[in-house]
């Protein structure tokens, strides 16, 4: 916990900044939202928005002024927008695919639905204002569901010239759904309203130009990438600037993407304005129950919005956030923003990332031995980089954000919290790494490939494995193969080259091969683009007395590749005198026999546990000296437990 004096000092500084901000006209402000003087991104879009929250109706009434610059070398005649909240209407693709359930959360109220409607859209053109409202039509970009209204297209009366920036004035009305997936309203543990206002405004899709992502460089023109909202897809948008004024009832506390630049209360309502530069989304939260706690790490002010009944866990949240900042700064690169808002969310709103803002989730009296709180916090913070800064298309290549994030989350957790980084009970320590590995190896590891559009997985239940766990295991195996020093350089190079842009799997592979200075297609083709399974085993260890062996004794070890995946292997044998010898094998043949001079007692494949992709590690080892220590230990332990159970049961009779 922060000391009271330190908290007061930080609050005083915060209040001074707010007063200073209020005293300046917003348009002329020099608010520090990033660590750079010049823009980090190419800022193709900007949003100035004003929105009022009506808690009674869960309604949002908003206006927005959107600017968009045509990045193509040819004129563009149409615009496309996401209306994500329409996913929470009956019949939407999201509802059809998810059945209204997301990560185990399901709506329970009589009217859980949400939606949004553009009530007017005016193009503020140089020649005068043009009403585009009637030109708006729903389109389906990834399926033929006519009831899906998550994407709209607007046909412009004239094309936008290359490099031209246009401005639109939009008015919209939205209803927030009951929180099931990431956004909406819920009730706090104190019985008061909670709102996570995310995916809430009409938002431009990404117009991809030739050479960007998978549009060929020699293509005639670019194209919009505006996916419908599917059950398993997340988001993709251009970088830009946001300035948003949110009006909420006076008692509400607000937290949002970016930096607070103004706050005013009158007539029972509070207006809070936030500004964020070089971000690709804007989310906010409001509840009358929040405690606001602050801390700093380097140049970053961390604001923690916590419910009072979780206050005892404040230090855990801060510690995990700072651990995330520390390790990501060291392993990947600088966090370029000046603020970070960590939000204690309710139910399905927890565990979601937005630029400079993420939600976590905890429970009342969350036990210290469970690190779920820390895992969620670290995971969502890592997303500030992989998706927040390196804005890959989450719908098409979810592994680039979820997978790399899971890998780094696991690495940070295991490094910072040790072998009990997930569960830390004496005698039962489970690491985050073990969890990731098992989540892959124990969930039909041969089904599905990582590089798959999120809405095209034949089995929806495979999404978690293929977007999160398997990529984490693949990258950990790659790290073991290349060495951490090389892997660290891969991450740093990838970050420095692609931050504030939209890289693809191809771009990640290119960086890895460039840094490692070797052809890694054999690796990525198998484990990103295919569904092969790695499993090697020691079949037998045998000792014999061949005539041509000077020592009189020779041993053979028979190895087998059980899976269709190939990975180089190391075999360590132990001789009867305790000495060891390592041999390598390219792992390609189905069977492989090795001969050793001397009496081998133990053969161990992958003794340093490098190949996390191996789906069955138990068969990696064979000994000629059976040892019943474990079996006896477990039996004695079970006997004692059973005796205790007998005594306890006796109390009932």
């Amino acid at each position: 916990m922060l000391s009271a004096s330190r908290r007061h000092m930080l609050q005083a500084v915060s209040y001074s900044l707010v007063l200073l901000a209020c005293a300046l006209p917003l348009a002329a402000q020099s608010v520090v939202t990033t660590t750079a003087d010049a823009p980090f991104s190419d800022r193709r879009v900007s949003y100035v928005m004003d929105v009022t929250l009506n808690p009674e109706t869960r309604g949002l009434a908003g206006t927005q002024r959107i600017t968009w610059r045509n990045p193509d070398r040819v004129p563009v005649q149409t615009l496309q927008f996401h209306l994500y909240l329409n996913a929470f209407k009956p019949g939407s693709t999201f509802m059809n695919e998810s059945g209204g359930r997301h990560r185990g959360f399901v709506a329970s109220s009589d009217d859980p639905w949400g939606g949004t409607e553009i009530t007017s859209m005016v193009w503020d053109d140089a020649d005068g204002q043009v009403d585009l409202t009637d030109a708006i039509r729903f389109i389906q970009t990834t399926d033929d569901n006519p009831d899906d209204e998550t994407v709209v297209e607007v046909q412009l009366p004239r094309a936008v010239a290359p490099g031209e920036t246009i401005a639109l004035d939009v008015a919209f009305a939205a209803t927030l759904p009951e929180v099931v997936a990431r956004t909406g309203y819920a009730v706090t543990g104190l019985g008061n309203p909670f709102f996570l206002v995310a995916q809430w405004f009409p938002k431009l899709g990404v117009y991809e130009i030739p050479g960007q992502r998978y549009i060929p460089l020699d293509a005639e023109r670019g194209a919009w990438s505006t996916h419908q909202f599917h059950a398993a897809t997340e988001f993709y948008a251009d970088f830009g600037t946001y300035e948003v004024t949110m009006r909420v009832p006076e008692a509400y506390v607000v937290g949002a993407t970016g930096v607070e630049v103004a706050s005013e209360t009158s007539g029972g309502m509070t207006s809070v304005t936030y500004r964020a530069d070089d971000v690709h989304d804007f989310a906010w939260t409001a509840s009358p129950d929040y405690l606001v706690l602050t801390d700093t790490w380097g140049h970053v002010e961390i604001k923690l919005l916590l419910f009072p009944y979780h206050e005892a866990q404040a230090e855990r949240h801060f510690e995990a956030t700072k651990i995330g900042l520390e390790y990501m700064d060291r392993w990947v690169g600088e966090y370029p923003y000046s603020t970070l808002t960590v939000v204690d969310a309710v139910g399905g709103a927890g565990g979601m990332e937005y630029p400079t803002f993420f939600t976590v989730g905890t429970i009342y009296r969350h036990p210290a031995w469970s690190r779920l709180l820390e895992i969620i916090t670290v995971h969502e913070f890592v997303h500030q980089y992989f998706q927040g800064l390196i804005a890959s298309n989450e719908a098409e290549e979810a592994w680039l954000d979820e997978g790399i994030t899971s890998y780094l989350e696991m690495r940070i957790m295991d490094e910072a919290y040790g072998p009990g980084s997930m569960v830390d009970v004496p005698g039962l320590r489970i690491s985050d790494g073990a969890y990731q590995r098992l989540s892959y190896t124990q969930s039909l590891p041969g089904r599905g490939t990582i590089v798959t559009h999120a809405w095209e997985h034949p089995y929806a239940s495979d999404f978690g494995k293929l977007a999160y766990n398997k990529p984490a295991v693949v990258l950990k195996t790659l790290e073991s193969y290349l060495g951490w020093d090389v892997m660290e350089q891969v991450l740093k190079t990838y970050y420095n080259r692609w931050r504030f842009r939209h890289p693809t799997t191809r771009d990640f592979i290119a960086v890895a091969e460039e840094v490692a200075q070797q052809d890694l297609r054999w690796f990525f083709d198998q484990f990103l683009y295919d569904d092969v399974v790695v499993d090697y085993r020691v079949v037998s260890v045998a000792t014999r007395r061949p005539g041509d062996e000077p020592s009189g004794i020779a041993s053979t070890v028979l190895l087998q590749r059980l899976g269709d995946g190939v990975f180089p292997q190391t075999l360590r044998v132990t001789y009867d005198d305790g000495t060891t010898e390592d041999r390598t094998w390219d792992g390609e043949a189905e069977w492989h026999r090795l001969t050793f001079g001397g009496r081998v007692t133990d053969a161990y494949l992958d003794p340093d546990n490098h190949v996390w992709l191996d789906t069955d590690r138990l068969n990696n080892r064979r000994t000629l000296r059976p040892d019943d220590t474990l079996a006896r230990k477990i039996q004695l332990k079970s006997t004692a437990w059973l005796q205790a159970a007998f005594v306890a049961i006796a109390g009932l009779f």
Binding site: A434, R621, T623, V647
Partner: protein, 300 residues
């Protein structure tokens, strides 16, 4: 109060064989039942060479892979527990009257005679108390679930589901256990029928408040001794077979002590019962009909 506790302790010291018998039955049965676990694990792990590593520390990845093969053996073991639990219940019911019989009036009466004389009725009483315990548990859990749901908040659910409900549940079961002990004492000392024993047992703590204090005293000691074997596992990690056996030996020492506490607890129960029996006999001397028990006396 102290003299009843001392009487219990003295009884346990005097009848060491009873404690040894109670301890031995549990130990032999538990060891025999876990033998298949040993063989299953031995077959799976011993030849892999991972046995020593897994004894040093928990490896979730290897254990999950072991689980695939080990699970059937474990399920087989767990599947036997229902009848073993029943058997232990029957044993507890009859052995308790055996011990009480042996301790009654400080006569060296034979444990097995007690089982022979009172075992049948003891089982009847145990069945009724077991049904009462189930009814109590079901009622408390039902109310607990309703209350936890009605609170509608994380705080309310936490306190209702994880604190209040278990506390009420366990407290109620402890009170029933106390009542059961005195019902059994009446079976032995007064030859009560099953119905008389249950009725008097249920009334006992309300009529004799000191009985609750005596129960709590032994309950605390018994609980501490029950926790000790688990604490030993935390304090003394077994990395090899020698340490595993050493720890097991220390645990057995605790369980033996726990068996002595059982005998002492019953000794205190019987001493207190006899005290009340004598007191009532003096108060209504001459009014008793030979052969009728304490309950009959109280009702006249």
């Amino acid at each position: 109060m102290l003299r009843f506790l001392q009487a219990g302790r003295d009884a346990a010291m005097r009848y060491k064989g009873l404690a040894l018998l109670l301890f031995g039955v549990h130990l032999v049965l538990a060891y025999v039942l876990t033998q298949p676990l040993y063989h299953a694990l031995d077959e799976i792990v011993s030849v892999t060479g991972f046995s020593a590593d897994l004894s040093q520390g928990f490896d979730a990845v290897l254990w999950v892979e072991i689980w695939d093969t080990f699970a059937p053996a474990l399920y087989g073991f767990l599947g036997q527990l229902w009848w073993v639990g029943l058997l232990m219940g029957v044993w507890k019911a009859v052995s308790s009257v055996g011990v009480l019989h042996a301790l009654y009036r400080e006569h060296s009466m034979f444990f097995w005679d007690g089982i022979g004389q009172h075992g049948g009725r003891a089982l009847g009483v145990a069945l009724l108390f077991l049904m009462t315990a189930f009814a109590w548990s079901a009622g408390v859990l039902f109310v607990g679930v309703v209350a936890a749901t009605a609170t509608g908040s994380a705080l309310g659910t936490f306190w209702t589901a994880l604190v209040v409900t278990p506390t009420v549940l366990i407290s109620g079961l402890a009170v029933l256990d106390l009542m059961h002990d005195y019902a059994r004492a009446g079976l032995v000392a007064e030859g009560w029928t099953v119905r008389q024993a249950c009725r008097s047992g249920l009334a006992w703590p309300f009529r004799h408040g000191q009985a609750s204090l005596l129960y709590v005293a032994w309950f605390a000691a018994a609980l501490a001794l029950l926790a000790l074997p688990f604490l030993l596992e935390a304090w003394l990690p077994a990395f090899d077979k020698g340490t595993a056996w050493l720890r097991f030996g220390l645990q057995q020492g605790v369980f033996l002590l726990r068996a002595f506490v059982t005998v002492a607890w019953l000794g205190t129960t019987m001493a207190f019962f006899e005290h009340i029996q004598r007191k009532n006999a003096v108060l209504i001397a001459g009014e008793a009909t030979p052969g009728e028990g304490l309950e009959t006396l109280r009702m006249t």
